[in-house]
Amino acid sequence: MEGIKILLVDDEEDFRTTLASRLKKRKLDVTDAGSGNEAIELVKQGSFDVAVIDVKMPGTDGVETLARIKEISPFIEVIMLTGHASVESGIEAMKLGAYDYIMKPCDIDELLIKVGDAYQRKIFQEKHAATIKRKQKT
């Protein structure tokens, strides 16, 4: 778990900063963003393993942010935070390539488990892609 690079995106500041502190306390490397656009900029600059994104945000909403982030950096795994009547958006997001979704208020242990799993998949996908590339070269 330690050192997984997480991008936490939510417009509700109290929620975002507190959850970020809690994740940092559990030795995860957390960066937080208050809007979809801010998150997209951050992804352009740095590399992240897992993004945790709120579905319902003003401006660029969670589902759109997910799509843009995936375009920029296809290997980032995304977990959607839902709470609004968005069980459906949660599923919609998964169709668009999100790894999973979690309902707010969320249980930190559940979130950690999902983050861990998402990270595993990211590592696997990257390796897989590297192998394919190598095969294509030879």
Binding site: E12, D14, F15, T18, L19, S21, R22, K25, K56, G83, H84, A85, S86, V87, E88, I91, M103, K104, P105, C106, I108
Partner: protein, 337 residues
Amino acid sequence: MNKKENRHSYYARLRLRLMAAIFFVAFVPLIVLGGTIYYHYSTNIVLLIFVLSTLVIIVSTILITRRVIGNLEEIGRERAEIADHLVQCYKLAAIGKLASSIAHEINNPLAVIAEKAGWMEDLLSEGDIKNDPNYSELFKATQDIKKHVDRGKKITHRLLGFVRRKEIEYKEIDVNLILGETVYFLERETRFRNINIISEYQAHLPKIFSDEAQLQQVFINILNNAIDAIDKNGTIYISTTSQNRGVLVSITDTGPGIPKEVSERIFDPFYTTKPVGKGTGLGLSTSYDIVKRLGGRMTVESQVGKGTTFHIMLPRSQPGGRGQKTEDRGQRSEVRR
């Protein structure tokens, strides 16, 4: 209830009028005809025929009216049932909209509160504070906050799910199997309360096309209600029967039953007779909604002091009509929309 009695006396009056009318229409020509004949040939045989035909007219009048009014009454009852059903649907839709926006507004602050309490708990686990005399109180307070956030969360999530439940996933399912699983979930609870569950599942029950997870939700809600109603020491009977158009599931409990004033409202969202914090009053309204979406019907029958039965009628194929064909051919075990 009152409505029903009114309806009944209405049909009784209608019946009398119809009977009078038919009788009159048939009897007047008879008298005229009979009178004329008797006037010419006044014999006993003519009198006898006259009396006999009067009897025949009376009997057939009674038979015809009974038949006609019976049919009318049935049509009326069906219409009233459909109207009740529609009202229920409108109510659910209107309340659903309102509920989802409220639930959303409450859910966000709830999420913040939960995080803050979690953060306090995290901080409390650090070295020094543990020796503080107030530590255990503080720790307990964070746990209590979490517990109550969970309580609120249960309600908001139910409400959110109530409006936009996830898509229905149709596949071929065995209702007996789902019931078995559900009972298994609840077994510890029932054993603890000394509640006996008697399952009378029809063997070789035809499979139906429906949504397994959502049906399970319905059965859990109804069984939980039955358990709450019985409280301790009692029996729950679960039966399945194959019917023409699908499968009928009946769940009967030996609880206190439901008085009329209550039974009229049990499918309303938020209607509960349970203490605050125990019931949300959403169990049955959600279940009603699910069964309706699956193309089925849910009804209740109860006798105060004896117990309550919930009937859930589930169609064999999904509302769009698919499924039946696939089943007939016996191919493809899964159909998804």
